[in-house]
């Protein structure tokens, strides 16, 4: 147990953890949105994220991105990557909904059927990319070279960490405003509270469901860009572990609760970095799940509770 290292550089490890957790949080939002409305664990969401990373990679390759472009080109690449990732992920998420879940919903299938369909779809997506793009890790050009922008005491904050955390929090605020303040958001909350009553009040349930899949997909696409910037590689099965972590984050914060996803993601990222520092990086996943179990023992609905519809029981 390396406590000296942890407490000696507590600030640094916290920043690392927050940056890591921001990506979890963005992906977790996709799980939590779908779960909040449909009570469905959308296992295919991890592959939605994976498709996003490949879209980012493809766009950069087509645009001829190289390492360390100037500040102007950097912004162009980031914008293009964001658009490509968001469009690809959003389209994949909506396609998954239309092709598979919608039909199951009309049949009123049991929850397990949804789960297996989601697993099947996620296999199809990741294997399709495995066959098409090969199974090796694919490197990406370093669009944003690492630089320390802040130095507080012995805590160094790099530009990629800053971008990741700020972008995640901005998108989170945007989503929160969208769900809580706009007309569409009211529809989403209404369907989350009670689908049948919402339908009677004139909310188009199918459109709301499509909307949440689209939103989840867009956020996963943004997460894919941030992931590409920070880690600079992708792989056909990149989504699996990340999706697992993101779902853990969603549950940790309280699944169905948007702010919970943010809190859960950040907390999970920080815990993992702390655990990796204390022992070795081999144990970070174990620590993450142990914390999840302990939290669920004392707060069975997660840190912030479930509340997409605010009034749900």
């Amino acid at each position: 147990m390396n406590f000296d290292e942890l407490f000696g550089h507590l600030g640094q490890h916290t920043v690392d953890g927050l940056a890591k957790g921001s990506i979890y949080a963005l992906v977790a939002l996709g799980y939590t949105l779908v779960y909040g409305v449909l009570k469905l664990i959308n296992f295919a969401h991890s592959e939605v994220f994976m498709v996003g990373t490949f879209a980012v990679l493809g766009t950069w390759t087509v645009m001829g991105a190289t390492n360390n472009p100037g500040i102007g080109m950097m912004l162009v690449f980031l914008a293009a990557g964001l658009v490509a990732g968001a469009v690809a992920s959003g389209a994949t998420a909506v396609a998954v909904e239309r092709i598979a879940y919608k039909r199951l919903r009309t049949m009123n299938a049991p929850p397990l059927a949804f789960l297996i369909t989601a697993i099947g779809l996620s296999l199809v997506l990741s294997e399709a990319f495995g066959v098409w793009q090969g199974r090796l890790v694919k490197g990406m050009p370093t669009i944003v070279p690492q630089e320390v922008v802040f130095q507080i005491g012995n805590t160094a904050i790099t530009n990629t960490q800053l971008i990741t955390v700020v972008a995640a929090i901005l998108m989170m605020i945007g989503l929160d405003v969208f769900i809580n303040r706009t007309r569409y958001g009211r529809g989403v909350r209404a369907v989350a509270q009670n689908p049948d009553t919402a339908a009677l009040m004139g909310v188009n349930k199918d459109r709301v469901i499509m909307l949440i899949f689209l939103l989840g997909g867009l956020l996963a696409g943004a997460a894919a860009l941030l992931y590409s910037v920070r880690y600079g590689n992708t792989r056909f099965n990149v989504g699996f572990i990340l999706g697992l972590k993101a779902f853990t984050a969603a549950v940790l914060g309280g699944i169905g609760n948007l702010r919970g996803a943010l809190v859960g993601g950040l907390v999970l990222g920080v815990i993992e970095v702390y655990a990796a520092t204390l022992t070795s990086s081999n144990w970070e996943d174990v620590a993450a799940f142990v914390v999840l179990v302990v939290v669920l023992l004392f707060r069975p609905t997660g840190l912030l509770g479930e509340s997409l519809g605010r009034a749900r029981a």
Binding site: A109, P110, L112, E127, F247, I255, W283, P300
Partner: protein
């Protein structure tokens, strides 16, 4: 009464399926026993079949050889897993996505206590001054595997079974991952990523002298696994019709109602978890004994998901259904090994298509099918 309305609603499909099942059940008992015995005899004869295309399987172990018996062994182990997981998912209605954890506990029990190369056995040898040749007997390892798997099931179930269904899913998924990581990271007692070799079978450590349970001929292993499967089928069938089985059914259909009627849901859920875990451990033990060598990567989370898929595709709750599901999901990827790159893609597609066409599984239990029918009437096109 439910049956009548069902027949009216969808006369073609329902009447046909009900009549096949009913016709079988209407037969005199001795005829059913005869049919069953013939079927069992056929299962034992299966590895000797030599139909090209169906049973002539390519293999990675033996170049240009036939591994049909080996594939059958895998199928039998998977059927055993499906039977165990069916107790948890099908009978008690708990979604367990970490079943590979129990499978790994079983496999590592026999590896750690039975293999002369395992750190645990070597530590025991040192401590009690035993010879280098000493290791636990295979039969003792079975007991250890069952006990350890059951204990891990109870340890996992104790804190988590009070949670609602979906939380249980994620916690169990995490458990499956944790077991794998712990084994991989604890080099000092588990062999770590290098794995453990020389895992014993019924005849002791694998060697060329073994007459029956050798390395090359998989047929005896298949017969062993099949016998275990038949024994477990019998035991689970007895359990299903017992007080415990009825309690599971009540808890699955309505937990609150069951609690009001004096069935303590937690207790029976924990039983389901423990029994399912023991069966998972048993199948892990068979797998490890046959393979003779295990390493942590063989117990990944994808495998758990495959296990759940076997149960759901086959039809949760129906033992024959889950057995067929397990057989198909174990056999088809082997059969299509030639399409190496594509087979998991096709496998995923198959899962989706089966679920879209038959969301209740290929062969659902009668009771489950009826529950689903009620569900469909209750909330037409609801969420």
């Amino acid at each position: 009464m439910t049956t009548d309305s069902k027949v009216e609603r969808d006369p073609k499909v329902e009447r046909k399926r009900v009549s096949i099942g009913d016709r079988w059940r209407a037969l005199p008992k001795w005829q059913r026993w005869l049919g069953f015995a013939a079927f069992v005899a056929f299962l034992y004869y299966l590895p000797l079949l030599g139909i090209p295309g169906l049973t002539w399987l390519r293999t990675d172990y033996i170049a240009n050889g036939n591994n049909w018996a080996g594939v059958l062994f895998t199928c039998a182990v998977y059927v055993l897993i499906a039977l165990g997981l069916n107790v948890v998912i099908g009978l008690a209605g708990l979604l367990d996505l970490g079943y590979v954890g129990f499978y790994a506990v079983g496999a590592y029990s026999v590896a750690l206590f039975g293999s002369r190369q395992s750190p645990v056995v070597q530590a025991i040898q040192d401590k009690f001054g035993l010879s280098q040749e000493w290791a636990m007997l295979w039969a003792v390892c079975i007991i250890i595997a069952l006990v350890l798997a059951m204990i891990s099931g109870v340890l996992l179930g104790w804190p988590t079974l009070r949670l609602r269904g979906d939380y249980l899913a994620i916690v169990t998924l995490g458990f499956g991952e944790i077991i794998q990581r712990v084994v991989r990271n604890s080099v000092s007692w588990s062999g770590g990523p290098a794995g453990i070799a020389a895992i014993p079978g019924p005849e002791g450590a694998p060697s060329a002298d073994n007459k029956v349970f050798g390395l090359l001929d998989a047929k005896p292993w298949y017969w062993l696994a099949l016998s275990v499967v038949l024994l477990i089928v019998f035991l689970v069938r007895r359990l299903e019709n017992s007080r415990v089985g009825r309690a599971w059914l009540a808890v699955r259909e309505d937990e609150d109602a069951a609690a009001v009627m004096g069935v303590y849901p937690f207790k029976f859920k924990l039983w389901a978890f423990a029994i399912g875990a023991a069966l998972g451990g048993l199948s892990g033990l068979l797998f490890a004994s046959r393979a003779g060598f295990i390493e942590p990567n063989q117990f990944n989370a994808q495998l758990s998901i495959l296990f759940v898929a076997m149960v759901v595709v086959g039809g949760a709750g129906n033992m024959a259904g889950v057995a067929v599901g397990a057989f198909l999901l174990a056999y088809l990827p082997e059969r299509f090994r030639d399409f190496a790159e594509w087979r998991f893609l096709v496998f995923g597609l198959a899962l989706v298509i089966v679920m879209l066409i038959r969301p209740q599984g290929l062969f659902p239990s009668r009771r489950r099918a009826r529950e689903l029918q009620d569900r469909r009437e209750e909330v037409p096109a609801g969420v």
